[in-house]
């Protein structure tokens, strides 16, 4: 949490001493409402909590980037960070689409493991461009049923990029489930990619899993 940057969060009300209290109250209200309607466990994820969570994830990513290890070792560590901070289960399920409903639990588990490795390699390659740069985690705001944490990536030799982290605790654990880089929605992009990969294999999830082990 270096600079408190929240370009799109609502303006603080001067009559209210701490705008975060208001935001948290709104969040709690939304969470409570969602819990009542859908009979889900009530949420307690606050903006500050989500912000601190993403800060830790960013710190861990940078520790790997600056470690100067061989690429293969880095990708494995990025994958571990993804498993620790991300909700790989819901991401893998969403990205696979309706096919996720038709496969067995064992088949889904091996697809999920392959998917996690694929994401670690694919985004790990991109993270290497972050060497010498920095990511500043900004403010958090409630959007729909989740919390959006804003951040700005400063990479050497290019304009700063806005990176949004979508954080939720609806799985029972605080985790991020989406990244929006300058408007590019990773979940949507990977869904399209997985749909194309699955179509190439005529809907065969086992064949897709084998492809994923090599892709990225």
């Amino acid at each position: 949490m270096t600079t408190p940057m929240a370009p799109r969060s609502p303006k603080p009300d001067p009559s209210r001493p701490d705008p975060r209290i208001g935001r948290r109250a709104v969040l709690a209200l939304i969470a409570g409402g969602a819990g009542l309607v859908a009979m889900r466990p009530a949420l307690a994820l606050g903006g500050a909590q989500a912000q601190a969570f993403i800060q830790r994830a960013v710190d861990d990513v940078y520790a790997v980037i600056n470690s100067g290890q061989a690429p293969a070792a880095m990708y494995r560590q990025f994958e571990a960070i993804l498993a620790r901070y991300g909700d790989v289960d819901v991401v893998a399920r969403t990205v696979l689409g309706p096919a996720a409903r038709q496969v067995s639990a064992a088949q889904f588990a091996s697809y999920k493991a392959a998917f996690q490795g694929y994401i670690g390699r694919k985004y790990g390659k991109r993270f290497r461009e972050f060497v010498g740069g920095r990511i500043e985690v900004g403010g958090a705001r409630a959007v729909k049923s989740y919390v959006v944490v804003d951040s700005v990536a400063y990479l050497s030799g290019r304009a700063p990029m806005k990176v949004e982290w979508h954080v939720s605790d609806r799985s029972g654990r605080v985790s991020f489930f989406n990244l929006i880089i300058e408007g590019v929605n990773m979940l949507a992009s990977e869904r399209a990619e997985m749909a194309a990969m699955l179509a190439r294999r005529k809907g065969d999830v086992a064949a897709l899993t084998a492809d994923l082990q090599r892709a990225g």
């Binding site: 819901v90 991401v91 399920r93 969403t94 689409g97 309706p98 996720a100 409903r101 694919k122 390659k125 991109r126 290497r128 461009e129 060497v131 010498g132 959007v143 729909k144 049923s145 989740y146 959006v148 990479l155 050497s156 030799g157 290019r158 304009a159 700063p160 979508h166 939720s168 609806r170 799985s171 489930f177 989406n178 929006i180 300058e182 408007g183 590019v184 929605n185 979940l187 949507a188 992009s189 869904r191 399209a192 990619e193 749909a195 194309a196 990969m197 179509a199 190439r200 892709a215 990225g216």
Partner: protein, 269 residues
Amino acid sequence: MRPKPRSAPLTALILTLLLAGCAARPVLQDGITINDPFEAQNRRVHAFNKALDAQVIGPVARLVAGRDDGPTAPGEAGQPRPVDLVINMGANLSLPGKIVNSLLQGQPGPAARNMFRLAINSTLGIAGMFDPAGSDFGLTETDTDFGQTLAVWGLPEGAYVELPLLGPSTARDTAGKVVDVLIDPLGQVLDRRERMLALGLRIGSKAGERARFGDTVDSVLQDSADSYAQTRLIYLMHRRYDVGEEDAGFDPYDDPYGAPVAETGPVAP
């Protein structure tokens, strides 16, 4: 030099032709609205662009960048390389057009920032080769164009189109590109030879950017199962973000399986 009198009717014709595509039904794919009535034609152009990139633009860009391996970040000690100077000069020459567009959008703030940028980088930055405005004055570029101006004026995005050489675009952005050439103040003050030089620098700048972000471009074009669909999706999402027309985000916990993805028609390899 004033634009040729033929240009105005030509622009109107292109505009009409392109906006005709708005009539087709857009589909919602993965929470993103996709309006692509010319998909078959677009895919042919994409195949051409992809081959051109793989065989000509990519290798040339790599050569220009002089990179052997690793990320194409500027020199280790922050030393700009020749390719960075070309990128900077091209970007500097595009500033007058951006200033005009910011003003047309009723945004004097970004216009003023880019005006100071232009003044600083053209002088202290030696004809735009360096970027002291960004590095020393915190005046980073505000990117805009006439496509965005049209969006601000309320024109709909129109059909998705992939243009030969120029790549992904929309009807609105294509019309914007044509108008940007016509309203560029640089075109009014430079003579023929200077204009060719400026054009060369701007093309060089684009090629330099292709080299700088080469790995990312390669990953989308060469590694995607359906590079046409990926390019289209990434372009539309990024462009809508730029012009403030972003699609709403979705919460996968509402329905982890989401909307069926197969509803959008053929996915060609």
